[in-house]
């Protein structure tokens, strides 16, 4: 059996009809008890299991998944990875994630195709340029690699965009983060699953949690469609359904579920080599390695568990895209889809104890969970292993809603909400 991935093993397997590859992950039956049970085999859950095993030596771990691994938001996003954040707390969190992403393919021995092609956040007026400068300064002070570009520099990075002075929102410049980029979303889930499985983690798909097992007010396991599973600690990483699970456990979260849509066009030869985001047009896009433009925008307006997009938002996002790059009017939309995202009042995640002993939560990533997968897993594993926060996750504890210390990146741009 060939288990290690490399150019040489690929060459060898090519000569014998690719017949010797081992399974990417095992599909075991659930055991009776584990040190840690993680609910949700998305990127965050799988990464948590991997780091529990690798960083903390805890390998008696199960990740249980209602559907198929990586099938939630991990496999439904626009694959952007970035750390261009204003507040130091966010910068530390997403900065850790980018750093982990940079070494991830080699670490997992699975090519996650992290492509640091950079990201432009466009500014369309002089006041927006001032705000962009404020953000760039914050990012530089936070240690992130942001620079402020003028329109001429932006044009060199993305000649496809609309540089007309008569555009509804003419381009004045942009915040550029060179270390930002895109990754292959499925590969992140599969790579973590494969590495975790190899370290002894049991990934149990098609297994739904139906109830929590409690003893003396403490959660000590889960009832599932495949029977009871005992756990030293339970971690929930079920983006989109966090409130449903919280309800099962008997508490409330500061989360509303919304549908977030994404779009992909037919494949073309390369037309843009970066991620371009215009807050004014409400749209961002990049081009996948396969050649399709991957497009995203704002949330749907209606709280939803529907996992289905609605036409008004499609029109808004795609109209914005055509304004941003008018030549794309003749490009054809191939497919759109939606994920259910957890939206918190400050659009920052919640990592920490749930308030019920034995249960920990990793949720509330909103529209940006994919980019945070390595950091989310790394920090959640630390919490589950030690029972206490890593210093980077401390500010993201749910207690911030009581103390009022919200971490609202939107607020930094002067939007009160």
């Amino acid at each position: 059996m060939t288990t290690k991935y490399s150019a040489i093993s690929l060459l060898r397997e090519g000569l014998r009809g690719q017949s010797g590859w081992s399974k990417a992950w095992r599909s075991p039956k659930p055991g009776a008890a584990y040190d840690v049970v993680i609910i949700g085999a998305g990127g965050h859950g799988l990464a948590t299991a991997y780091y529990l095993a690798r960083n903390h030596g805890i390998t008696n771990v199960a990740v249980i998944e209602k559907g198929w691994l990586g099938g939630g938001n991990t496999g439904r996003n626009t694959t952007v990875i970035r750390s261009n954040y204003y507040y130091p707390e966010s910068s530390a969190l997403y900065g850790l994630s980018v750093k982990l992403y940079e070494g991830l393919s080699k670490e997992l021995n699975y090519n996650v195709m992290f492509s640091q092609r950079g990201m432009l956040v466009l500014a369309h007026s002089e006041p927006e340029m001032e705000m962009a400068a404020r953000n760039v300064n914050a990012m530089q002070l936070n240690g992130a690699d942001a620079i402020l570009m003028d329109a001429a520099d932006v044009r060199k990075k993305a000649p496809l965009l609309n540089y007309s002075k008569d555009a509804r929102f003419p381009i004045h410049g942009a915040v550029w983060q060179g270390s930002a980029g895109t990754g292959r979303h499925d590969a992140v889930a599969w790579g973590y699953a494969r590495a975790a499985s190899a370290l002894g983690v049991d990934i149990i798909q098609n297994c739904e949690v139906t109830e929590f097992i409690r003893e003396a007010g403490r959660i000590t396991g889960v009832e599932t469609t495949l029977g009871p599973i005992r756990a030293g600690a339970v971690g929930a990483a079920v983006a989109g359904h966090s409130s449903v699970l919280a309800r099962l456990a008997g508490f409330k979260l500061p989360i509303t579920s919304y549908s977030l849509q994404a779009f992909v066009t037919e494949a073309m030869k390369p037309v843009i080599d970066t991620v371009a985001f215009s807050p004014a047009y409400g749209t961002y896009f990049s081009q996948s390695d396969k050649g399709g433009l991957v497009i995203g925008g704002g949330l749907d307006r209606v709280p939803s568990y529907g996992q289905k997009g609605n036409l008004p938002v499609q029109e808004a996002v795609l109209a914005g895209l055509v304004e941003m790059a008018p030549v794309l009017a003749k490009v054809k939309l191939l497919r759109h889809w939606a994920g259910i995202v957890d939206v918190t009042p400050d659009s920052s995640p919640v990592i920490g104890p749930s308030g019920i002993e034995g249960l920990y939560v990793n949720c509330g990533w909103g529209t940006g969970g994919f980019k945070a997968i390595p950091a989310g897993g790394y920090l959640f594993a630390h919490l589950l292993a030690n029972g206490t926060h890593h210093e980077i996750s401390r500010p993201f504890d749910i207690d911030r809603f009581v103390t009022g210390r919200l971490i609202d990146e939107g607020a930094a741009s002067g939007i009160a909400h």
Binding site: G75, E323, A329, L333
Partner: protein
């Protein structure tokens, strides 16, 4: 492959010859041809190359199920990428190029890639390209991938119309079932829309050309069309229903020509009958991707619709009864036809640039075309969009409709009713809401599904080069759920979205894992049903119609006064006046105001009426500041907070009378403030005792400000004593001017004596003209927003959202009293006492005095010397023409306790020095405002 145009037959217009080029060669077709039918008629075998291995590809399908025939097309209006040849009408002068091939599809230099296919199997890229770094490999891979090239030209006039419509019944598909249903429903008096994506109605009737209900297909179709239209029904041809959205909204795209943007119909249909037909399933056999191997249905379509015989020696490889009748039809058209039943043994094709022979066991036939069908797959994409369920039918070896979505039924072939007479009966019954129990179909087949373990390569996804071996590899590596399978192998992710590959792929995985096909899964079809141009969604929302600006009543007056207009908070407003550069003009206008005065269009200031017996208590509750002590005729400045205690808006409250207030929200926030007031009014108060009404757009407001403001205002001849004693700061008067209501307030955002004068918008021009005429001899001229920004900053007055952020609370700005002393509850009261609100390190409003002559950059951060930690920001910064030095405002941790401190600022790699001061830089005593 040797397609031939027959001398007669088909629906094409032979009188209309159309010349075009394909890969540099001149060809011609006829009116009614698609690109694909014209190419086939010209004997073209290879129309493109596959995505991964650059294998030669011919036309497979007859319509939207085509994975291969994708072209770049140039017309006189412009160039278009990724045009599907089977559904696009041929037009004169088209220059058609194959994609993913160089120099052309027939000879492609990358064709040799196929030799490396043993190493390029499913997911190979996940296993390599990691060392030294993915970035070294990515650019090459990106250039290799992608289909067509996006040319940078804009297609002339390529803008989509967008139409809203509604109907009782939408019939999707203008084949026999759809026509029969639409006619029956229309005769019943329903408003019926029938959409058909071909240019002509009739669906599959032309394939065999058989009579229907005693008529020739064209006559029967014409009769149905006439009947539907006579009964008031509407028929849209070349229109695709591409998606079903919430609450029975159907997206229709009507495309008249490839270089004209389609029209979007957002159609709300109470009911929908899905008559979208069925497509052929490919037969999975060795080398089944060779050019010349097509779907049986396509072979018949090209004959019936376009008069094209797709081959001279044709093998039909089909597992059902239609094979024999199709053979007869093709023989009649002059082809030598041989029949193969794929259920009776493994097939294998041979050939290099096109199929040369088909073999089954020992039998081999030399052919130039293979027409394959493993049965029919109902087209149920819209069914799935709408939430309908599917069931696997073993006998027909396909998915059929199960539990129906609300308001939708499937009829005809889409419902697995493959016999014409039954389809018509079913369609008419469903259209009239009558019961119809489906008869057993006479159409039978021997299920023929992919068999793993075969030798050689058998293609499942033609465009993406997914073979049976790729699916075997995915299974070996445990990517067994349908979503893993699709994503790992890219099966059904190509531009045809799995229309041909979906069922063979699922069946192969089912066979490999010993599961049933439904256990492996069905995939969720997602809109759009076929790719549609982005222009469809954009419509006429381009340019200035994208998030349109709000316009001032006085815009034309400002333009004729030479105003430079700019966007401020969604309004188009004068930034400054005259031809000078903006900064210079702003400096000059700001000096003018303090020397003499200025006239400002302040119309966007909110004017929200709040009245009723509970108005006083209500305004007092929604405001941070105490408002119930405000007396009629007086104004008070205050803050609206969110429940978190964060400043939502600032502005001035007018008390018009005991039960009437006018809230003057900051410019551009009127809608938001009205919404907030309405929320609190209706949810938590008695809405019958309070009334809120936004009158912002009914009034125009002109502000005269500066030492000579009184002189200018006096020229209006109002019956108001304008003297400082009689009309003090923060009071207002109501009067009548030239027979219209006029409100005049003494309130100032410049620190100068100011008169804010509001009249109905229809009188705005008269007011502005009167004031401008009076001001001119006194040196008081129009001023723009840029000068106002400087003037207010000189006085330390904030702009919400610029000098505050989403964390700023009133006590950060020095407004501390209500937080501790206001006796009644108010919005945000508890939020002002959280740990964070009580934090002594909160950022507070300060002034910054730059050390040196250069203004501090807005957006600069104040930093600690040691760890470069940010402890504040510069929110506003200007050169002040009135104190003759740079001024700035900022939010700084413990700012008010740091007055006089020298601080270091960081901006884009540079550092600056400044001293913290009071925010007020000009007229600190505030004498001028009361003058």
């Amino acid at each position: 492959m040797s397609g031939t145009r027959l001398s007669s037959g088909g629906l094409i217009d032979r009188a209309r010859r159309i010349d075009f080029n394909f890969d540099g060669r001149s060809m011609h077709g006829f009116g009614g041809d698609t690109l694909a039918s014209a190419l086939l008629a010209n004997g073209t075998g290879i129309v493109g190359r596959s995505f991964k291995y650059h294998r030669p590809r011919g036309v497979w399908g007859g319509w939207f199920d085509e994975p291969n025939a994708i072209f770049s097309v140039r017309t006189p209006k412009g160039s278009l990428p990724n045009v599907l040849g089977t559904t696009t009408a041929l037009a004169p002068g088209m220059d058609i190029r194959s994609v993913n091939a160089w120099p052309n599809a027939g000879f492609d230099v990358k064709g040799g890639l196929d030799l490396f296919s043993p190493w390029l199997k499913a997911g190979f890229y996940y296993k390599t390209f990691m060392k030294p770094d993915w970035h070294l490999f990515e650019p090459m891979i990106r250039r290799m991938a992608g289909l067509g090239t996006l040319e940078p030209d804009m297609v002339e006039g390529y803008t989509a119309d967008q139409v809203h419509a509604q109907c009782d019944l939408l019939v999707v598909g203008g084949g026999a079932a759809g026509l029969a249903a639409a006619e029956a429903a229309a005769r019943q008096g329903k408003t019926v829309w029938l959409v058909e994506d071909h240019d002509t109605l009739g669906g599959g009737l032309y394939r065999m050309g058989d009579r229907i209900e005693g008529l020739q297909p064209t006559d029967w179709v014409a009769a149905r069309k006439a009947a539907i239209e006579d009964a008031g029904g509407r028929i849209l041809t070349h229109t695709t229903a591409f998606g079903v959205f919430d609450h029975r909204l159907y997206g229709l795209a009507r495309q008249s020509a490839v270089d004209v943007a389609p029209t979007l119909y957002r159609l709300r249909a109470k009911e929908c009958l899905l008559a979208s037909g069925a497509i052929d399933r490919p037969v999975t056999f060795g080398n089944n991707d060779l050019p010349g191997i097509m779907s049986l249905e396509a072979g018949l379509e090209y004959l019936g619709r376009y008069g094209v015989r797709v081959g001279n020696a044709i093998a039909i490889a089909a597992n059902h009864a239609q094979a024999a009748s199709a053979a007869a039809r093709l023989s009649e058209a002059g082809a030598k036809v041989s029949l193969f039943d794929p259920a009776k043994g493994d097939l294998a094709a041979s050939g290099r640039r096109g199929v040369k022979a088909l073999r089954q066991g020992k039998r081999a036939e030399a052919v130039d075309c293979v027409l394959a069908s493993a049965g029919w797959t109902p087209v149920l994409h819209l069914w799935r969009h709408a939430g309908g369920k599917l069931r696997w039918d073993e006998a027909l070896a396909t998915f059929l409709p199960a539990e129906a979505p609300a308001g939708m039924r499937a009829i005809g072939a889409a419902n697995g009713t493959f016999d014409l007479d039954q389809a018509l009966a079913e369609a008419r019954a469903f259209a009239m809401g009558e019961p119809y129990s489906q008869a057993t179909t006479r159409f039978t087949l021997t299920p023929t599904l992919p068999k793993p373990g075969a030798k050689g390569r058998q293609w499942i996804d033609f465009q993406h080069d997914v073979t049976l071996k790729d699916i075997e590899l995915a299974e070996r590596e445990n990517y067994v759920s349908v979503e893993h399978l699709k994503r790992y192998t890219t099966l059904s992710m190509a531009s045809d979205q799995g229309k041909t590959s979906n069922i063979p792929g699922l069946a192969a995985m089912a066979a490999l894992t010993g599961k049933t096909i439904p256990e492996v899964g069905t995939t969720t079809f997602r809109p759009p049903f076929v790719p549609v141009p982005l222009a469809l969604y954009h419509g006429h929302h381009g340019g200035q119609n994208f998030r349109p600006l709000k316009r001032l009543a006085l815009e034309n007056v400002h333009r004729s006064s030479g105003a430079a207009l700019g966007e401020y908070g969604g309004w188009l407003r004068p930034a400054w006046y005259g031809d000078r550069p903006g900064p210079e003009a702003a400096q000059s206008e700001a000096r003018m105001v303090r020397d003499a005065g200025g006239i400002l269009d302040a119309s966007p200031l909110g004017k929200i009426e709040v009245m009723g017996p509970d108005a006083e208590a209500f305004v007092n509750f929604v405001y941070y500041n105490t408002m119930k002590t405000l007396k009629p005729g007086f104004l008070r400045y205050g803050f609206l907070l969110t429940e978190r205690g964060v400043i939502f808006d600032d502005g001035v409250v007018f008390r018009m009378g005991p039960n009437r207030f006018v809230i003057s929200s900051s410019s551009s926030h009127a809608e938001g403030v009205t919404g907030m007031l309405e929320s609190w009014r209706q949810d938590g108060n008695d809405p019958d005792r309070i009334f809120v009404h936004d009158t912002t757009n009914h009034w125009s407001t002109v502000t005269v400000t500066g030492p000579k403001a009184r002189d200018v205002t006096r020229s209006l001849g109002l019956d108001v004593d304008l003297s400082a004693d009689a009309f003090p700061h923060m009071t207002f008067r109501e009067t009548v001017w030239r027979d219209v209501a006029l409100r005049i307030a003494r309130v100032s955002f410049t620190g100068e004596v100011s008169f804010e004068i509001s009249v109905p918008a229809s009188s705005a021009k008269a007011l502005w003209t009167a004031l401008a005429d009076a001001g001119r001899p006194l040196g008081v001229r129009p001023m723009g927003i840029e000068a106002l920004s400087i003037l207010r900053a000189e006085k330390g007055f904030i702009i919400i959202g610029k000098d505050t952020d989403g964390e700023t609370m009133p006590h950060d700005l020095g407004f501390t009293l209500p937080r501790t002393k206001k006796p009644t509850t108010f919005v945000g009261d508890r939020g002002l006492h959280t740990d964070a609100a009580n934090d002594p390190d909160r950022r507070q409003l300060v002034g910054l005095s730059a050390i040196g002559d250069t203004p501090l950059p807005t957006g600069a951060h104040l930093i600690d010397g040691t760890d470069r930690r940010s402890f504040g920001i510069v929110t506003s910064s200007y050169m002040s023409p009135n104190v003759n030095r740079p001024i700035a405002l900022g939010l700084v941790e413990r700012g008010t306790q740091r007055m006089g401190e020298t601080v270091t600022l960081f901006h884009l790699g540079q550092t600056y020095q400044a001293t913290l001061t009071s925010p007020v830089a000009f007229d600190r005593e505030g004498a001028r405002i009361h003058a």
